[in-house]
């Protein structure tokens, strides 16, 4: 009996290998509160399609693309009026120690990314939270690689500007 040289791993192994990357990506792109549901929807959708997948598929890029589509659903469900950052951070915050500010800055910068225009937000989360290449991002978004690079550069520029503004008013 001849066995195919490449074959899909049992789904459980695929889930074990990619669960951390998918969750990190979703926490960055939709926030912690909605990440759990989006994670489950991502892997259940993946499982439905899994048996028909070619054995040589790029499983990591594939599942992160599904996660990206679930993130779009979350953002759509929130309507076009995301909760402004100001609402979360206004009010009497205790003066943070430098160390605490460092620790919280990771989640803060993703909150800022979530406020960016859709395409910039998508490219930055896929690039920096999911660690996909610009080529894979272009495939996931259905745009050219050049457009993905440009959106990433624009997003980073806006982010820098915002952080500078915040620093100036602090």
């Amino acid at each position: 009996m001849t066995k195919p040289t490449a074959r899909l791993p049992p789904f459980q192994r695929f889930l074990d290998v990619h669960c951390g990357d998918v969750l990190r990506y979703l926490v960055a792109s939709v926030g912690r509160h909605d990440a759990d549901d989006a994670f489950q929807e991502t892997f259940l959708s993946a499982l439905r399609a899994y048996p028909r997948l070619p054995a040589d598929a790029n499983l990591r890029a594939w599942v992160l693309t599904i996660a990206h589509r679930k993130a779009i659903d979350v953002h759509r469900a929130r309507g076009r009026n995301p909760v402004p950052v100001a609402e979360i951070h206004d009010g009497a915050q205790p003066p943070a120690s430098p160390a605490a500010a460092d620790e919280s800055s990771h989640s803060d910068h993703w909150e800022r990314v979530r406020m960016l225009p859709t395409r910039q937000r998508e490219v930055l989360t896929l690039r920096f939270a999911a660690d996909l290449s610009h080529a894979d991002i272009a495939t996931a978004l259905g745009c050219t690689e050049e457009a993905a690079r440009r959106a990433a550069a624009d997003g980073l520029k806006n982010l820098r500007k915002e952080i500078a503004d915040v620093a100036a008013t602090a």
Binding site: K3, R7, L8, P9, P10, F11, Q12, R13, L15, D16, C19, G20, V22, L23, R24, Y25, V27, A28, D36, F39, Q40, F43, L44, L47, R48, Y50, P51, H106, S107, H109, W110, V113, L124, F128, A129, D131, L156, L159, R160
Partner: protein
Amino acid sequence: MSLPPPDLRPGEAADLAARTAARAADEGIAQIAYATVDSPVGRLVAVQTPRGLARLAYELVNGGLDEILDDVALRLSPAIVEAPGRLDLVRRELDEYFDGRRHDFDVALDWSLSHDGFRRRVLQECARIPFGATRTYKDMAIAAGSPTAFRAAGGALGSNPIPIIVPCHRVLSSSGGLGGYTGGLERKRTLLAIEGGLLM
């Protein structure tokens, strides 16, 4: 500027993955659920389809968990998740059997990992050998309709995908010897001892 990915709490992704796997099995999105079961003859891997238990493998004898699941993925479907809750009945019946409190198994069996024809007939006849009784390879060949094929009957029993529950350990050599066993003779002896017979 750098945008480090968000930090996760230790075990956070794995916990969520386990909940997702359980849900996939409960909602029937995964066709196949598996669990590991500890036993006096070593750790077992139990694999279940919607039809019933398809595989009960000795983890150490059959090349480890990965190899056992790879084989099931190739022969049945890769839509496999770990879902211990789906195998509670199998685990309970095995525990009772090893405690000496159960003589017959009630779990449904899925024969799809045994070959059609003579081999499957041998295994299905084997499933009818009562607790505490033994048969010879020749008995099994006769029962499966090919009286001279006792060697092939031995081969069929050696390929038993559901040992212990399909009790191929109850089939012995006509000469009075133990014959062979898919899990090694030491395990065959242990199982026969549990059933109150034969201490050699």
